[in-house]
């Protein structure tokens, strides 16, 4: 009897009318995830407690140098942006996307080992929406697949059910990158054997499909095998984002900006 109810619930969840109440109900799970984080949190704070003055000073100096380099790199950004906009106007390009990010902490990992999904501590209360792109300092991490009131679930690009459209940064060749189920491996599907793609090529998101903003680095090609007997080349790539050790990630808000007001 109860099993029947459960199966009916599955059907109901499938039809989608439970989504809203569920997203509030699911809020209770954030404290549980926080609780499971506690041991590693304590470990980290103990580590912080015993860090010497000297190593702190060293780290400070290193961060200062890093900040200087980053500032220097952004100096020309403003003029480049203006130039980009002018060129776009020359090309009559309709609009461009303006992006802003919000930082979220990774609080948990999916229990199902077959899913490459993690939980972040921002939800619909923070304006998060399903389908938002998620990045870290090095590249594209994945996308938001499920939003609850105070947390949301992010599917990584390496999940077996995940695929996205990318471009080779060098020459603009497009391809589809599919997750492999392994944390450090992505596969490019249906790449013709004659395609100009080499080991070491940088793959960036192409923006096709409208889900991911264009231009975020996704992966670097690590292996190209061309078998004359096969119609397609086997191309493998290594994701750039620190998928398995990210503590903080950035959720990207992108909105279309009308021409001229960027």
């Amino acid at each position: 009897m109860l099993s029947l109810i459960a199966l009916l619930l599955v059907q109901a969840a499938r039809s989608g009318w439970l989504d809203r109440p569920l997203s509030y109900l699911a809020s209770v799970s954030l404290p549980v995830y926080k609780l499971t984080e506690l041991p590693s949190e304590i470990g980290r704070s103990l580590e912080g407690l015993f860090t010497g003055r000297e190593s702190l000073r060293e780290e400070n100096a290193r961060l200062r140098a890093e900040a200087l380099v980053l500032h220097a790199k952004t100096q020309k950004l403003a003029s480049l942006r203006a130039e980009n906009l002018r060129l776009r106007e020359l090309l009559n390009s309709a609009s461009h996307k303006e992006e802003s990010v919000v930082v979220a902490e990774v609080v948990g990992l999916a229990a199902d080992p077959a899913q490459h999904v993690f939980i972040v501590d921002k939800g619909s209360a923070d304006g998060i929406e399903e389908g938002q792109a998620v990045i870290d300092a090095d590249g594209l991490v994945g996308q938001v697949i499920n939003v609850a009131y105070n947390h949301s679930r992010v599917m990584m690009v390496t999940d077996v059910t995940h695929a996205l459209s990318v471009q080779v940064n060098r020459n603009g060749v497009r391809a589809i990158v599919e997750g492999s189920g392994l944390i450090d491996l992505l596969e490019l599907s249906h790449v013709a054997a004659t395609t100009d793609i080499k080991v070491g090529d940088l793959l960036v998101s192409s923006g096709l499909g409208g889900r991911f903003p264009a231009g975020y680095p996704v992966a670097r090609v690590s292996e190209v095998t061309i078998d004359p007997g096969e119609p397609f080349a086997t191309v493998r790539a290594r994701p750039l984002a620190q998928l398995d050790k990210a503590q903080f990630v950035l959720l990207v808000f992108s909105r279309s900006v009308a021409r001229g007001d960027g």
Partner: protein, 161 residues
């Protein structure tokens, strides 16, 4: 409920701990070897306290598990209810077994739980059936004696009847 005030809370707490352990963050490769804590704890209570914990408890905790895991609502509720039913039907026999045979029993219960869960997922169009559930079942069977000792101790300590 009045005369056995402790029992209810001990059972609830043990289920909560199992729930938390089931989402305890582990490295990806290690997650294939995470014991199925919920099934272990549910099996223990249904085996030794069948008058207290039955299919209903399993169903409710399965529902909580669904919410926590973000699985399809009802997936674990269904699977755990079926497991609890099997355990309830055979609890008089299995209670008499030694650790080794009980571990084999737990092994099959975990398999049932995971396969039913995968079956529901397949119904919903998420197709990944993996033989690696065997690893989880094996770990659960290996951890069973330890879980049994701890939970039995809790029973004596807090006079769960």
């Amino acid at each position: 409920m009045d005369d056995h005030g402790h029992s209810f809370w001990v059972i609830l707490l043990s289920l909560f701990v199992a729930l938390a352990l089931s989402v305890y963050p582990l490295p990806l490769s290690a997650r294939w070897f995470r014991p199925d804590w919920m099934v272990i704890v549910i099996c223990f209570w249904v085996l030794f306290m069948p008058h207290r914990v039955g299919v209903g408890w399993a169903w409710i905790s399965g529902l909580l598990m669904d919410i926590l895991h973000g699985a399809y609502l009802g997936q674990h509720a269904f699977a755990l209810a079926v497991v609890a039913y099997f355990v309830h039907v055979s609890h008089q026999r299995v209670r008499m077994y030694g650790y080794r045979k009980q571990a084999v029993f737990i092994f099959s219960m975990v398999i049932i739980h995971l396969l039913l869960g995968q079956w529901v997922q397949n119904l919903m169009g998420v197709a990944d059936t993996s033989l690696l559930v065997l690893a989880q079942a094996l770990m659960s069977a290996l951890i069973w004696p330890l879980a049994h000792v701890i939970l039995t101790y809790l029973c004596y300590r807090f006079v769960v009847t």
